[in-house]
Every structure is written in structure tokens, then in C-alpha cells.
Amino acid sequence: MYVNNRNNEFVFALAGNPNSGKTTLFNELTGSHYEVGNWAGVTVERREGVCKYVYHKHESRLDTHEHTSVHKHGEIHNHIRIIDLPGIYSLSPYSAEEIITRDYIMKEKPDLILNIVDATNLERNLYLTTQLAHMGIPMVVALNMMDAVEKSGGKIDRDKLEEMLGVRVVPISAGKGTGIQDLVTESLEIASSGKLCGVNVTFPDDIEKAVSEIIREEKTSRMCAVKLVEGENWIEPSEETKKIVSGLRSKYDDISTLLASRRFLYIRRIVKTVLTGMDDHLDEMTDNLDSLAAHKYLGIPLFILLMFVIFQITFGPFGTMLSDGVDYLINGVFSSFVGRLLEFFGAGEFSRGLVLDGIISGVGGVVTFFPQIMLLFLFLSFLEDSGYMARTAFIMDKLFVKIGLSGKSFVPLLMGFGCTVPAAMAARTLDSEKDRRLTVLLTPFMSCGAKMPVYVAIAGAVFAEKAGYVIFGLYMLGILLAIISGVIFSKTILKGEAPPFILELPQYRMPTLKSTFHHMWEKVKDFLVRAGTVLLAASIIIYLLQNLTFGLQVTNDETKSIIGVIGKFISPVFAPCGFGSPEAAISLISGFVAKEAVVSTMSILYGASDLSALQATLASQLTPLAGLSFLVFVLLYVPCIAAVTAIRSELKSVKLTVFSIVYQVCIAWLMSFLVYNIGSLFV
């Protein structure tokens, strides 16, 4: 068969259910490594890649050998672009994912839809297939996880399946990379022939008649016409169409249910015919694990224990050791090396300071947390890929509904204890705009890892051995205020119907090391990029503010610098909270760059050489109550610039971002004020 269309250029759109192995197939086709998640909605944005396979015709259709040599007879070079569409269950335009997929297919008109179907779950997967087949675009079904079906003794009659679906079917295993060459070859043949899928599901005669009339009237696809009949207007219907639809709707009171039932009835018939040797039973391993993970009494404690262990490893001695190592490399080895280098080239004091104290310690201070963030994401990626994450949403949902969230918000919020940046980013996986925004707005209340050094330094100074209780109390206060704010937000600025909670609990699977690492890397990469851009710029700006006067003269006197003057100017604002010194105000301002900077700025301002010297000074400067009040402020006020940029990009609204900043500052001031003044009555 000769394969051709404009310059051998093709666009294939990859579509399928969540958890069907779609992203794995995308990676296999394009050779690129993208995020693979066992969590509905991982592919929120559209991804694109160039297919590394070319047309290669085998002797026999059943031959599934991987092709090895590149220049073999029967090979034609084609340029195929693969578009990875979000994982969806249907084409109803009720979620962002579904709308992206539908609009892409309708407007961009790819040359072919590659529909990936999980062979271990034909009944649900084929529903989307029966819809995609009638979008007016040639289609091929990639029957994934055939190896798993065969392993459990099942058999699928491919020819029969093709006949009943009216679509070409190619068995593959995306994970093992088998059958991919055949898939590409057959897809190219179908795409270049332009052959559309045959009719599969049929509806009652009067509905079929209406559908045919609408197809003629609107010159549209069968799927679009069916949706018009259901009252979902994918296109603006003509008067004639409206008449046909209303005539039909007067006869049936619930067309949607009828049509969905017909589809599933047809699919049941297909599955009954083509699938043999598989019994319809729950996967036993998943069931056993679930009876523990969702156990009536053990489920929640087990989950808390798991989280405790993860946080203990990440933020406990092990993670701290790694961070200290990086800190030593950056602030010890690297910084002194650069210092000597600058000296060698005769750099002036100001530029040396800018590079060493500004850039290296500013960016470095945050990069120090890199090992901990990597560890946290390694664990979270593992939990996500294994399928446990969906269970946490399941077991925590009831509690979250009460604050206007759904169980699915739990994971992003949990990440907030590590770092607000990935926490806000993780909210992307949520179902609705409202859920996403509410979750993002609440992430700053989860006390992030960078605030820990501030707590340790100050609580250690003013509370000595009772510091641990105080720090624990701060975390609890953050959670409590998140709950209260959640209730308030969902009743005021983020009103609206809660999206339906319909959660697929995927089978547990052992994630491969490769995919877990890739998954982790995708997230960690963002962190590094941010450190190299936003934080770099912010560090330079803060250094300049610290070392220049308003007259742009270089100064060594912090109190005369721009930041010092601002600090002195705004410090009275904090007087009612018990920490009205310019040092406190200046430290809080630099905390905007990175929360750890609160401590380092104080060290500079008080001229303390190390932590114990700083603590001695603080103990004499702050009463325990003022210290507590200061800590409450640090807990609650605006997160760092990196977090604010992440929040801004996830909220997709400048207005809400400004609101978030103002809200955090106000609540921080108010709480500190209350702590200090109510506390004063008792002390």
C-alpha cells in the first residue's frame, strides 16, 4: 500500500481513558520522557512530540517483531507529529480535559485519532471508542495491555472486535514497547486512505433518522449530530435542526440516558463476543491492599503513619544531612572558590558582594533545599504512580467536603508542608476551577519547609527546651486557619457548585524506577528553573536594596540602605504586635525572597557570627510573647516570591493573586496582634 499525503506529513492525536497507558505510549512513540501518572488528569495540557517510528510493512500482519534496520525494503519515511491529548472518559464537555480533546479534534482535524484502549478494562474504555469513532476523523484502536490479558488466561478475538467496532485494532503493550511498529504502519495506512470508521452503535429508528437529517443539514460528524439530539450544542444548530431536535425530545423524556444505555449495551455485546477466558473479578492484590488502605479503623492511622515516615525521612536527619551537604558545597566550597576567582580578576568589593552575598547565598539558600524537595517528590511520585494517591482522596474526602474542598485537594495541600511552589502546581490535577483556586489559595497556610529554620532559630532562642511544642503549635495554627479560610472562601469569593466527586480507584501497580524518577524529575525541574530565573533576579534586587541608599550610593550600613529605610519606616506597623524594631521589619521584608532569609538577614543586622550568637541576641531583644507573635507572623504572611509566582500562574488571575497577598498579610498581622495582646493579659 502506498502511503502519502501532503509531503508525507501526518498529525496523529492520541486519545484514551486516564490510566490506559496513554502517556507511556506517547513516550514510546516519540522517544521523549514525559510525566506518567496513575492519577486522573495528569496530562492537563496538550503535549506534542515527533514520532520516531516510520512506515515499515511487515510480511505478515501477525508478525510483531520489532524492526531493527532502518533502511529496509518496504519502508517509507514519514514525518508524524503525535499530539498527546488529556485522559478522558467521554466527550461530554464538562471538564477542561474533555473540552481540550473535543475542540482539538473538531477544530484542528488531525489526520488520525489513535485511540488507546486498556484491554483489561474493555467495557469502560470502549465507551470513549464508540464516541471517538464518529468524530469524522480516521481512527485506529491501540489495544494496550494485551500481555496482561493473556497472562490471566484471556483471549481477545481481534478480527471480531474490528468488525463490531468498525475500526482497525492493533494489539500493543506500551510498557514493553511491543506492537508499536505495527501500530504506526497500520495507522499510516488508515490515515492516508482517509477511510472513516463504520457505524457501530445504533439507536432507535426515529433517533437514527433525526441524526441522519442533522448530519445532512449541518454537514457535520455523526457524533456532533448525536450530541445535538441530546441537547449538547457543540455547534450552533440551525432552525431546521432545532425543529428536528425538539420534535424528538417531546417523544423521549431522557435521551441522554437512553443513548448511554444503548452504547453500553452494545459494548457488553462486543465484550461478550470477543473476550474469552477472563472472569469478571476484582484484582485480588488491589483488593487486599485496599482492605488495608481503606480499613475502617486502620485506614486513616496508616495513612498518617506513612506521611509521618515520609516527612521524617525528608525533613528529619537524613534529608537535613543531604541539605547540609549541598549547603557546604555551595556556601563553603563553591562560594569561596568564586570569591578567590573574583579576587584574582580584581573585582571590586561591591561586585564581589553582589555575587557572593547576593546571588550565591540568595539562590544557594534555596537550592540547599533541593535534596529535600527531590526526596519529597520521589516519595510522592511513587505514591502517585502506585495508585495510592487516589486512595488518600477516597479516605479523606468526607473531612474535606466540610471545608468546601474535595478529597482530591488533600495531596496538593500536603505538599505545602514541603514547599508551596509544588503544592500550588499539584492543584492542577483537580477537577474544577473552583477546587483548583481554593486549594491554591489555601496552600500558603501549610507551613513550608523553609520556615522551619526561622522557627528553630527564634523559638530556640526565646523558648529554649519548649521550642518543639511551640513549633508544633504553629503548624496546627496554620491548619486551623486554612480550615476557617476554606469555609469563608467557599462561601464568599469562590462560591459555586462543588464538582461531582467521581473518582476512579485504579489498580495498584508497582511503578518502575524509571517512570518514578522521570515523574519526579519533571517536577523538580520546575523548581530548578525557578531558582535560576525568579530567585536569581529577586536575590540581585534585594542585595541592591540592602546595599544602596535612596541616592544610589553604595553603603555598608544596613540602616541607611533602601531596605533599611523602608524597614524603619514600616517598623511601627509591627509595634502593636510586639516586634517594632527595624531589624524585625527588615528581616520580614527579605523573607519575601525566601523564608530562610529572615534568619540570615537577622544575623547580618545583629552582626551575629553564628546561630548561637544570634539566639543570644534574640533572647535579650524579644520577650517570649513577642517572639511567639513574630513567629505567628512568619507562619502566616505572604509566602516567598517563588511561591507567589507559582500561585499566580496556577490561579491564572492577577486579581486573586493580589487578594491572596493582601489576605495573608492582614491575617498575619491580625493573628500576631491577637497573640501579643491577649497573651499580655496573662503574662
Binding site: Y89, S90, S92, Y94, T120, N121, L122, E123, R124, Y127, S256, T257, A260, S261, F264, L265, R268, R269, K272, D280, L282, T286, D287, D290, S291, A294, H295, K296, Y297, G299, I300, A390, A393, F394, I395, D397, K398, L399, V401, G407, E497, P499, P500, F501, I502, L503, E504, L505, P506
Partner: protein, 80 residues
């Protein structure tokens, strides 16, 4: 007839009607919750809500208040 949420753990039933509307109903239909589908209540979350069902070969978590609006008849369907 009873609601899905009234099933006991491990009990099987066949869906008769879905008495919700809008987005939730569309979602349920698309996930295979249609009249005639066989459903098994697998387990309830630790606090009793949501509820996990086994349907069309996969596991689906639904909130209790949503499951209450789905009516079913106990027992297996006689598959055509």
C-alpha cells in the same frame, strides 16, 4: 428497589434509574452508571463516605449523597 448506598458490603445489584441531573448525571452515564449495569458495593471509606463500587471491571468512588440518588435492584443481571 433501593438506593446504591443502601447495599451491604459485597452486595450486587443492577441499576434501574439515576435520579440526578446536570453535570453529575452526565458523568455517571459516561462512567457506565446506566440502567442495566451490574454494580457491587465493595467498601465504604473509613468514615462511611464515600463508597467504593465495582462496576464494568473497575473501581469507582462515589459520595454517599450521590449514591443515594441511584436506584437499583438487588441481585445479578441475567446477561443476555
Amino acid at each position: 428497589m433501593l438506593s446504591l448506598s443502601a447495599l451491604r458490603d459485597g452486595e450486587k445489584a443492577v441499576i434501574v434509574s439515576i435520579n440526578t441531573h446536570g453535570r453529575l448525571k452526565r458523568r455517571l452515564l459516561d462512567m457506565g452508571i446506566v440502567p442495566g449495569t451490574e454494580v457491587t458495593l465493595v467498601r465504604r471509606a473509613p468514615i462511611g463516605d464515600p463508597i467504593e463500587f465495582y462496576v464494568l471491571g473497575y473501581r469507582l468512588g462515589l459520595r454517599k449523597k450521590d449514591a443515594e440518588n441511584i436506584l437499583c435492584e438487588q441481585g445479578s443481571s441475567v446477561r443476555e
